[in-house]
Point group: C2
């Protein structure tokens, strides 16, 4: 299982960090839709399956050590289950840096 | 210990993924120069200490779960010890997508 950084292929915005195992990577490459391995649910996780906020795969890059991936994606809706475009929506001091795109109560 | 994504604060380019523990985060915040925790050497790692390719801290963002950081940095030189600007210099199919910035043999 390796960490995967998802980045908006147009804006360069970093959307989230999640994990893939071999199954998730194969599903991602064969379907063109990003799949992760959910560590909490211990199962394959098609990102956006319930919300419709899919990540359409544009490119997969590997880091120098071969133990991290960067996926460039077209993000439908918001990447974050809290309603923000990116999971990185606040600074370490707690300041919110984005506007909510959607109300999670209406989506999930 | 948590994963940390380093991103060029000007271009949005994702430079690398590394790890911080509490000591590394404190050193980063107090000095304004990014420090990681080296998992292989099991010690505090001031990024660029030997190469001069420092990362000057611009912003620290936390993800929704509070278990990943995104640091926006001014990258001096290249982030990757192989001589590339970013550690993500090749696709999953092995195609090199960047030009080398420096010769590692001359720097290390």
């Amino acid at each position: 299982m390796i960490p995967v950084v998802a980045q908006d292929y147009r804006t360069g915005e970093v959307l989230m960090l999640a994990y893939m195992n071999e199954e998730a990577l194969k599903a991602t490459l064969s379907t063109g839709i990003v799949h992760y391995w959910s560590r909490s649910r211990r199962k394959l996780w098609k990102k956006g399956e319930s919300s419709g906020h899919l990540q359409l795969l544009k490119e997969v890059l590997v880091d120098c050590d071969g133990d991290t991936l960067l996926v460039k994606v077209e993000q439908r809706g918001g990447a974050c289950h809290t309603g923000y475009r990116s999971c990185f929506y606040r600074t370490i001091n707690g300041k919110i840096t984005q506007k909510r795109l959607f109300d999670p109560d209406e989506v999930y």
